[in-house]
């Protein structure tokens, strides 16, 4: 049982590694750890008001215990907002990733003309900021200003109402598909290009058609990329903010707390309640982390494991 303990090694202090690490540590602490820590601190604070709340000394900050968290978690708007973004994500993610995979496979096929041009053309919308894209699409969604509705009107038809009711989900998902497909396509395409050509050769000798190669070889081999893009899309869905915020002034159909992050913004900068907003932020961050790691644990080992 008893094994001889290794002789204690003399430790000499070497400052050099710390010197090299210092900039990263300082930046991490100042721009990442400190703000998060401060938000965590704020989430346990609240304002106490005395009298009419006017003038000096009417407001004082004090400890709130867990009350900001209980009100954040019992607020039905946060849950409703989460459900709304899940419906939105349920439409968006399969369509966007499906298109991205399709385009990547098409670009990867042997007989493709204008490959570089097509790749840039599909990728280009990603380079347009979300706010600009939303404004652009907003114009197209408004029947009074949209050329699409104008043409439909000339044909005696009326277009769908995209800025009210359930049409809103289509309108928002469409903006995201338009903007996000290119990015995901590039990720998948890059991983397609790294598959060794011998594998295809072997498949062809075995008599596989191009379709069979795509379904049986290419897709399984890019599975890690698909998992990665799905993971990114999932997080982006939970944090959708700029598209609905930009479309909001154009319609009655989007409330100020439409998505969870919009609620945080609303609490902090419209209601002026930075404390509740901090608590909600912490809740959202925790849920996002839990879902992310849960998802990676669920599919990660399978998808990545197959490669080894």
């Amino acid at each position: 049982m008893a094994t001889a303990a290794p002789p204690p090694r003399r430790r000499t202090f070497r400052p050099a590694p710390f010197g090299f690490l210092a900039p990263a540590i300082v930046l991490f602490a100042l721009t990442f750890a400190l703000p998060i820590g401060y938000a965590g601190y704020l989430s346990f604070r609240k304002i106490h008001i005395s009298g009419l709340g006017l003038g000096a000394g009417a407001r004082s900050e004090g400890w709130a215990g867990l009350s900001n968290y209980t009100s954040a978690l019992s607020d039905s708007e946060l849950l409703n907002g989460t459900l709304r973004v899940l419906v939105y994500g349920g439409m968006l993610v399969p369509i966007m990733l499906g298109l991205a995979l399709l385009f990547a496979l098409l670009l990867d096929a042997d007989k493709v003309r204008l490959r570089a041009f097509s790749r840039i053309a599909i990728f280009l919308p990603y380079a347009i900021p979300g706010v600009v894209a939303s404004l652009l699409w907003g114009f197209l969604y408004l029947p009074a200003t949209s050329p699409g509705y104008f043409l439909l009107g000339k044909l005696g038809m009326s277009g769908p109402q995209l800025l009210s009711g359930n049409g809103m989900y289509v309108a928002l998902a469409n903006i995201a598909v338009w903007g996000g497909t290119g990015f995901n396509m590039v990720v998948i395409y890059t991983s397609l290009r790294s598959i060794p050509a011998e594998i295809y050769e072997a498949a062809r000798i075995d008599g596989a058609s191009e379709l069979q190669i795509a379904l049986r070889i290419k897709i399984p081999m890019v599975l890690p990329s698909l998992v990665l893009t799905f993971f990114f899309s999932l997080i982006a869905t939970l944090q959708v903010f700029s598209e609905p915020t930009t479309l909001r002034p154009l319609t009655n159909g989007i409330s100020s707390t439409w998505s969870p992050l919009m609620k945080v913004y609303h609490d902090a900068f419209t209601q002026g309640d930075i404390y509740s907003a901090s608590a909600t932020s912490v809740v959202i961050a925790a849920v996002t982390l839990a879902i992310s790691f849960g998802f990676l644990k669920l599919v990660g080992s399978r998808a990545y494991g197959e490669q080894q």
Partner: protein, 442 residues
């Protein structure tokens, strides 16, 4: 979705975003030197900073700087009133608020409640005679203190397309009943046209209309607030517009959208209930209709009455952070009452001045270019401005306004009961005050 990797970075720091924004706000602010007080000492002139969103305010301030070498004011341009409110509260907490700040009337209780504004009654208390009583009450919050000097005001009026009213045989409404009759008649004449729209994206207009009907949304007695957003007067206003939306005689889409601009520009919408600053908006939104509009007094609830509400309007306030409150108060008074300053405000900053004397003559002698067909525009406006009903604001107007947008947006969309939306707005506002810890009665 467009900025996916950026989002993820943001997302992981979701909790941090808000606070880093806050930190960013507090850096700029009063650059006042440690010089003793208003009088310039050997250490040089007193330096003041002024946050304002009015266009060309720097040109107006340049006049002051020229004539007052001992008190130099620097304008720091801000985006808008809404943005400024949160920013200045945050800056004040960090001790970095500017000396002077432009503040909308409805934001004053919120600012006072956060202890941002200094009481300048000692310096400027005697200025009350220069303003209409209803306006002055908004800067005192009904107390003996003076928290700001009124700068501009926005009395509500009725703007309509004169040519199209003649074409469809509509009478210029003097009562809201006539207004509703006009809307219905227009529907019969041409179902593609609408008299106007009910917009849920600016609560200020609704607040002004309620004010005209006699609403007092916030009142206080002793140390208890009373919230009465769903009082009888406001219910009447909400019910009236709700019916018009429900029976389809007016549109239900928000204003300030590309679609709204187009509807005004091509005559799909014939009228706009708006404030004295409307010509500026119309010339941008509907440039093709120049000279085709006319302005009249707001329709009344009882025939023969003569009262209006206001939409917008702002004041100049001195902050508690300022080390030179006397000098700042002196500037605030000059900016809003000195004839040269007010003339420059009208001409360069497109303000409709709050000071009574400034509302006639001078820079307002000629009608705005867009209304050149109505030469007595500002004479009429001054008469209407004098009939402005007093407004009653509380410490969480921002919450009430935001609740209005959400509740009435939904009701306008579904053409459902506006009374229910009004109750939601009232309850949300009340609940927020209770949550914040105010003593409040429903």
């Amino acid at each position: 979705m467009l900025s996916m990797h950026r989002r993820i970075a943001i997302g992981l720091t979701a909790a941090g975003v808000a606070t880093s924004l806050l930190a960013g706000c507090s850096s700029s602010g009063s650059t006042s030197s440690a010089g003793a007080s208003a009088q310039a000492t050997a250490s040089g002139p007193v330096k003041l900073t002024y946050w304002s969103w009015a266009p060309n305010m720097d040109q107006v301030v340049a006049l002051w700087n020229k004539s007052h070498p001992n008190i130099q004011v620097t304008v720091e341009k801000q985006a808008s009133g809404d943005d400024l409110l949160t920013k200045v509260i945050t800056a004040a907490k960090a001790g970095g608020a500017p000396d002077l700040v432009q503040a909308e009337y409805q934001a004053l209780p919120t600012l006072v409640s956060n202890n941002v504004l200094a009481d300048i009654s000692k310096q400027d208390g005697s200025a009350s005679s220069k303003f209409a009583a209803g306006i002055w009450k908004q800067v005192t919050l009904g107390s003996n203190a003076v928290y700001a000097i009124p700068q501009d005001s926005g009395p509500l009026m009725f703007f309509y397309r004169k040519d199209l009213f003649a074409k469809y045989g509509l009478t210029v409404p003097t009562t809201w009943d006539q207004f509703a009759a006009d809307a219905a008649k227009l529907q019969k004449e041409d179902s593609t046209k609408k008299l106007t729209t009910f917009s849920s994206n600016d609560a200020g207009l609704f607040a002004g209309l309620a004010q005209q009907a006699g609403a007092s949304w916030w009142t206080s007695s002793g140390d208890t607030w009373k919230v009465a957003i769903n009082d009888a007067a406001t219910q009447k206003v909400a019910g009236f517009w709700g019916n018009l939306v429900k029976n389809g005689s007016i549109d239900n889409q928000p204003m300030y959208t590309p679609a709204w601009n187009k509807a005004l520009n091509d005559g799909t919408q014939l009228a706009w209930v708006s404030a004295v600053w409307a010509p500026g908006v119309l010339s941008g939104s509907a440039p093709a209709t120049k000279g085709k509009w006319a302005m009249a007094a707001l329709p009344q609830w009882t025939a023969g009455a003569n009262v209006t509400g206001s939409w917008g309007g702002s004041s100049t306030a001195v902050t508690n952070n300022s080390k030179h409150q006397d000098a700042a108060a002196q500037f605030a008074l000059w900016l809003n009452t000195d004839p040269t300053a007010v003339a420059a405000l009208v001409k360069d900053a497109s303000d409709y001045p709050a000071a009574s004397d400034a509302q006639s003559g001078g820079a307002l002698a000629t009608a705005p270019d867009f209304f050149s067909n109505q030469p007595d525009f500002y004479t009429t406006a001054a008469k209407i401005a004098a009939t402005t009903a007093p407004a009653a604001w509380g410490p969480n107007v921002n919450v009430a306004y935001s609740a209005f947008k959400d509740a009435f947006g939904k009701a306008a969309q579904n053409k459902s009961d506006f009374g229910a939306a009004l109750n939601t707005m009232d309850q949300t506002t009340l609940a927020d005050m209770q949550k914040q810890g105010f003593k409040v009665a429903g």
